[in-house]
Amino acid sequence: VKQYWLIFKLQFAQFSSYRINVLAQILQSFVTPALTLIALSLASPKTSLNTSSLLIYYLFISLTYPIAVSTIDENISEMANSGQVNNFLIKPLSFFRWLLAINIAEKLVILITLLPILVPLVLLTHIELVKISEIVLVLCISFLLSFSLSYLFGQFNFWVDDFWAVQNLKHVAILFLGGVVLPYAFYPQSLVQFLKYTPFPYLASWPARIVQSQFNYSETIIAFIWILILYFLAHHLHRRAVLKYSFTNT
């Protein structure tokens, strides 16, 4: 644990020093929802959907997306291409734990950067303390689930040359099936019912949905089951990936 704590501290210091990058990353998550909201606020709704409920939804999505959604598969891709994976073959370091430590450090820097927006927002919207604790819990579970999914997808990098294509598939699945691009109110009810049993609703939009509705413990159980499934799948794949991996510096 000590060595991972050290890695965490080092990465935290590194991420904190690249403030423009962190700010750009945060800003990115606000752009698409803000532009969608501007356009939809000027359009005429055909149903009972109103833009004020969309505003709260998109605002929370924008704030929680950079914290909850892990893109560790990009790091795995870089490491596999540059040969850094070799370090984990010769040193007594767990690849999974090392990546988890650096990802938590990154997310913590983002969370601290977002605090000046999050605190006034929570105060202004009069969210109860119980709800805040639920959101924090959900955010942690979302991150773990997202990390497991991203780690699993990252393993495909050892088999597929065009890994960006796999990344795109994952990204589109999270954006669309996860309710990031559009809230579930836009989707057919049958699809929403089906999605409940998949990992997607528990990734990016879960905290935003908690703000607008009741916290459901059964959802937590489904999310945990998915974390376990993805974790074991990823570990099984990683063992095979290491056997497949080869790197020769040219």
């Binding site: 990058n21 752009v31 939809l40 709704p45 796999v166």
Partner: protein, 262 residues
């Protein structure tokens, strides 16, 4: 100028030939990776127009706009994305020197590096679907309008290229800013909506969405033979001119901060 066009043609045709000679599995993977976003835009927009209506635009016309957006986006990906991606890294590691030593403008040479075959396939697919929408939604189609349509699509791409260069320039001064390479694509959501939405009494508030949405709305309105207010034409061509001047100026001034690998 002809020499520059010749170089660009060689670069893009060589890259396409290379991509089309890849093993079939790689080609399928690349196309799958690109088409998933294409489908996401189509499905998400269909869901939006099932819940919201846009004054002055029928569902068929909105789909023409969306496919113009797809055509514009994938053309931009095909033309610039590779260059934008590489330039950010090269500014950071100092290999950008190579472009400064060439007898061509660095702003042109660094961005145009060839495009992937998957984007080329989606450019064609957008146009096939556009044709399908015109038939399926019984929209009036005037063949001569294809000329101003493709011309304004090219001018919109030129504006997008200028904006991309402006977004890249902070890399010269502040080091690697990864998000800057895709900045023009992060704001792509606004290109899907009709610019007439932002054109009204609150014009000053919505000037930025208006300017950006015009990049696709303007060609789409021309193809649909919709009346275009003269002020919108002024904004559209004004943006083109201002973005070109601004991109030239920011590129030139930012280059002074570039300190190579040292």
């Amino acid at each position: 100028m002809i020499k520059i066009f010749k170089i660009f043609f060689r670069i893009y045709s060589a890259r396409l030939a290379k991509d089309f000679n890849l093993p079939l599995f790689n080609q399928i993977m690349q196309t799958l990776g690109a088409i998933c976003f294409f489908i996401l835009h189509l499905v998400a927009f269909r869901l939006i127009i099932s819940k919201f209506s846009f004054t002055g635009w029928t569902d068929g016309q909105l789909l023409v706009l969306l496919l113009t957006f797809e055509l514009f986006t994938y053309s931009a990906f095909f033309l610039f994305y590779r260059g934008l991606n590489y330039t950010v890294t090269e500014i950071n590691n100092g290999s950008f020197d190579f472009f400064l030593s060439k007898p061509f403008p660095s702003r042109l040479l660094t961005i145009f590096r060839g495009g992937g075959s998957h984007n080329f396939i989606l450019i064609i697919l957008s146009q096939v679907l556009l044709y399908w929408v015109f038939i399926n939604y019984h929209l009036n189609f005037y063949l001569p309008l294809l000329i101003p349509y493709y011309f304004t699509l090219l001018t919109s791409l030129f504006t997008a290229y200028n904006l991309s260069c402006i977004f890249l320039t902070p890399n010269f001064k502040y080091g690697k800013i990864t998000a800057s390479q895709s900045a023009i694509f992060y704001i792509q959501e606004i290109y899907k909506y009709p610019s007439t939405l932002f054109y009204g009494p609150n014009l000053l508030v919505f000037i930025l969405p208006l300017v950006l949405s015009l990049l696709t709305s303007y060609p789409a309105m021309l193809l649909l033979n919709k009346p275009i207010p003269i002020s919108l034409s002024i904004v559209y061509f004004g943006t083109l001119f201002v973005s070109w001047l601004l991109a030239n100026y920011t590129w030139r001034t930012s280059l002074r901060h570039y300190s190579s690998a040292s």
